[in-house]
Amino acid sequence: MYGMGILKGLSVTLKHLVRTYVDDIKYAGRKYLRQENFEERQGLKADGAFTVMYPEEKLAVPERFRFVPFLVVEDADHPERAGEDWCTSCGICAKVCPPQCIWIVRGEDPVTKRPVPQPEAFFIDIDICMNCGYCAEFCPFDAIKMDHDYEMASYDRTKHHIHDKAKLSKPFSYWTSIAPTTAFEEARDRGGWEHPDIIKEFKKSGRTPTPVSEASSQANLNSAAFVAKQKADAEAAAVVAAAPKDASAPPAPVAEATPAVSASGEVSPEERKRRRDEALARKKAKADS
């Protein structure tokens, strides 16, 4: 019969309409109030309207989300290198950047004119940046990372859209807070919370690190402190998770992290120290001869 197809289709529309109200009733007026309601509305079981009431509520972005990059600097409470750059101005990010939006002025020793591993200036033109994430992916020092803050509208693009070093720099703790899992995996891969080369460069510049930073950076990775922190994070996440079964399951990386440090072929701290001592001895012998 003519028209049956239309009616059949309209029944789908009607179902959608009804479902939206049923959905509203289900939450008993608390639809927008509770965190777990949000998760359900935005999950696979969602039935009614899927609108997010921006800016009263925002979809938090996942860890790997990438937006205009930032530079990692040491935390303000770091024992000896507070606020110093992780960047060594090696220029790989500027070279690998597809739209070429990164400008780096390599640091230079004022007397000898030799390059020093600190950028003198660092610029990113965020109008050109295409948020591809290559700089973060290929940085050998994990010193540039993709940010999560996407609310960057401004009134004047000529004044505010070239980010300089001051504007780009964010502490390491910020990175661990926006991407805890990724930050941990990276630390595991480089064998310590701080990059061994940065410690090396630091020593080369004539300063000696307190044993605290060197040792603790190694130990932290295996220490109970990190696991505890991860657990706390997991519990915090579990609180917001709707299903109670999730509360018992901490994020998976923790479980596999501790053995992976040694299993991944990383050199142990003692081994690294021994090799460095050997190298230093050779160097000294060469200088003496």
Partner: protein, 625 residues
Amino acid sequence: MTDQVTLAPERANTMPLENAVDYLKRKYPDAIKDDTRQGYSGVIVDRAHLVDVARTIRDELGFNYLSSATAVDYLGVEDSMEMVYHAYRIAGGSALVFKAQTARENAEVPSLIEIYPGADFQEREAYDLYGIQFPGHPNLKRILLWDGFDGHPMRKDWKEAYYEEETKPFDSRWPKGYVRRAEELNVFGKNVRYPADLDLSKLSDTSEQSLYSGMGLGVDVEGIEDEEGIHTDKLIVNLGPHHPSTHGVFRMVVTLEGETIVQLEPVMGYLHRNHEKIGERNAWNHNMPFTDRLDYISSMSNNLGYALAVEKLMAAGARYQPPTYRAEVIRVLMVELTRIVNHYWAIGFLLNDLGAFFTPALYAIAEREKILDFFEATAGSRMMCNYMRFQGIAKDLPERIRSVSNLVNDKLRDFNTLDYLTELINERIPRSIDELDRYLTDSEIIKERTIGVGYLPPEMAIAYSAAGPLLRASGVPYDVRRAEPYSIYPELDFDVSVRYNGDIYDRYLIRLDEMRESVRILKQILPRLERTKGESTYAGNKAIYMPRVPIGEAYGRVENPKGELGYYVVSQGDPKGPQNPWRYHVRAPSFINLTPLGAMCRGQKVADVVAILGSIDIVLGETDR
């Protein structure tokens, strides 16, 4: 656009490729020679015999589907230009590649439009960007750029405005990277070129007039009367470029007689940015995120096509390792999800074009969101994924799809990735496809608007090089995943969807079919994901940020949701220094699928044009490049 299309004979030829080349060489001993350059394949045809050879290739050897025709400028290498043709058999198999060389000055290659009507737009593009003349082409004018444009930008000696350096990375960025905006350079300085005889006071744009003059106006209509004795003037109407039904900035100039289309001329290029020139400035790795911006609905598939093309080249190198099995599994997972995303979008907006304003589209978009959430958690972006790499993928799937609170009012979510995927693939997507089916398929309004409208017969579809759903809805079961399999498709169980009526309704139905087939593939992917958990997703040393690519050429193609996406890449790089593609060509399905638009619309009503265009499913980011 030619009105008379001579069609290839139906007879299938199964002669193996080597024998086919031998046959050609025997038949044209003087005109054909092997392409013996290092890393190259195929034959070089003397351009005086090109038309005859092409006719033999199509009629006697059965390579009746011209996938790609493009030009390369070998300035400084051989000081010649070259047209490269990739012809396939519609029954499947690999390509017969033939090339025609011409001098750079007064470059001229005979047009193949009579043999392969699908070469129409591609030859116009080569003329536009390379300045190669195609004698025999009935409508040889610029296609992407405007008529007053000076020069042919893809030539190697052409410099764009704000030209900085031949190749990236630019020296000004490091180690003395003092920032400045390109626009702060004097725009009238040395970066901008004008024709020698340019007189601004006499500047007038004649492109519109020349366009209209080809549209059948100026004909004396006084004497023309139809059988009812009514005088009808022909009328030119511009549909677009600023019109939501064109899915972007696409313009169709139509000549109407009453409400009936007499002639339709597509005008494009409003979004042109010379993607290929950018691609040649870029290093190999740089291009990956740029491919996201081609067909921005399905960036994962674009990534895969480019990765496959460059991997073909790299395979000749010593350090090359093929992608790991898990990488292949994840690649297929991603591209099949992308196909579903794209078809949701295509069906939703086809209904928009038919007048069902946004209700079906939003139902489809709501489902698409669930897939994009997964993309965002895995690749870091919802649409510009930039996820594939040569020899693998960027990163393994995350353990959990988990968000982190950062801004005020942020609301969190936390799902187990595999559970999420399992539920998405086994329940959510099939349910929503069924719902779309129930919602739209039987509707009498849709049937009356679409059945029998925009008919494209199968032999025309092949001749015009149509691809993807457009080709398969015309009854040609051609799918690159089966015709020339890549990745792990050979071990997956799925059918090539095909519909036989070749109208808008069948193009809608085939998209539903393909989504169901994609779900079928994804269901086979899930156990493979479980099985390969923890395995490496990248073969080789991932820290290499400037991969070395051996000298040669490669054509990599994938079955994109919109049709066959091909990348023709040529490497001439110094094997030790930094490397850039010598040629980076994109065979864009949206672009070539527009070739039969005029033929499909002729005789239809003006309101149907919008629906026909919607059924082709174009994206202007890819059409205009």
